[in-house]
Amino acid sequence: MAVDKRTDQLMGHVESMLAIIDDMNQDMQSRIDEEKASGNPNEPRINFYLSQQKRLIKLTDMLEEEILEILIGIRNISGPIEYFEK
């Protein structure tokens, strides 16, 4: 019994997306820290960064909790599908 290796490719794409999102999130955090450390922090600017972070976190949750979950399920069942066909 062997799984459909294309499922690993799909999961790899999601992993790449997660790595990019992590990077963007860290970028927003650095900007927030930098702004706060300045003598005169710009609140609207900080709120924009926070708002962006909120979206990035939501996207991470969706990819991790929903998309990866489904992909793992597809991978899990692809092995038994091949087995039953034999």
């Binding site: 019994m1 062997a2 799984v3 290796k5 690993d8 999961m11 790899g12 992993e15 997660l18 991790e64 909790e65 990866l68 979950e69 793992i72 991978r75 899990n76 692809s78 092995g79 038994p80 087995y83």
Partner: protein, 268 residues
């Protein structure tokens, strides 16, 4: 060592999503396995360990379908499943272990059984001084046991007693397929009930939490890798060590901790 332990919440949106996934699985499982009986543990047994990790004698029970090539394979045809077990001496060469189970893909485990049945990992952890020792035998079940009555009354208590006779302190348990998660949760609770501290790795936390087990570590991996990725002993050691290190810090029965590893695919 895991510093930021993420314990799965027992209420809230994430819990509800898992509960929905369990419901959806529960409604569909009868299409494939009409005999399946949902059999959660009625009471969660709990044994705390006082010794430090470097003194533990650590046993292994897996429902991956692992057995010696020389032993009778598990019955993978019966709709009733197979609740028997196989004793695997710890000095066994991993190449002499095979897997009989048709409910998940174990092609990687056929090449590196350690990703499901971490016999080499545990020996390495003894050598590194992380744990104290291992008993003379590990145990293999085939987790497809849709009707677990004889497992509950006969074979799981037998294995629990054998582990107790060898004065095992801690048992790590690794599952194979979906129904396996119920089977292994039942075995785990029976072993905990004889005074041995246990932890299972779970690939399906939504099932494990509905079976009510003492402790579990959630690996977000596909079936076939419940003890780490294949052909990567360092990662396998890290995972098993991290899972064992959770034992003294989990204080609440029924807790499932999410491990911080991501699946990076099949490794050649």
């Amino acid at each position: 060592m895991i510093h930021d332990m993420e314990v799965l919440e027992k209420e809230g949106p994430a819990y509800e999503r898992r509960k929905q996934r369990f419901q959806s699985w529960y409604e569909s499982v009868f299409k494939w396995h009409p005999n399946f009986m949902y059999t959660p543990n009625q009471v969660i047994n709990w044994t705390e360990i006082k010794k430090s990790m470097s003194e533990w004698k650590v046993g292994l029970v897996s429902s991956s379908g692992a057995h010696l090539r020389s032993q009778k394979p598990f019955d993978i045809v019966s709709d009733e499943g197979d609740w028997s077990y196989r004793e695997i001496p710890v000095e066994t060469d991993p190449k002499d272990i095979m897997i009989s189970d048709s409910h998940y893909d174990h092609s990687d485990a056929d090449l590196d059984v350690n990703c499901m049945f971490p016999i080499v990992t545990l020996k390495e952890l003894v050598k590194d001084g992380v744990i104290g020792s291992i008993p003379s035998k590990f145990y293999g079940f085939m987790g497809f046991v849709p009707v677990p009555q004889d497992l509950i009354t006969q074979t799981a208590p037998e294995v629990a007693q054998k582990l107790a006779d060898e004065k095992v302190d801690v048992v790590i348990l690794t599952p194979g397929c979906a129904v396996c998660h119920q089977t292994l949760g039942i075995i785990q609770n029976i072993i905990e009930g004889v005074g041995i501290t246990t932890i299972m790795t779970t690939l399906k936390p939504e099932l494990t939490e509905q079976v009510h087990v003492p402790r579990a570590a959630y690996l977000k991996y596909p079936y076939g890798y419940s003890a780490g990725p294949a052909n990567d002993l360092n990662m396998q050691k890290t995972i098993v060590k991290d899972v064992l290190e959770l034992i003294p810090v989990i204080k609440e029965p029924g807790s499932i901790v999410k491990m911080p590893y991501r699946w990076h695919g099949h490794i050649e």
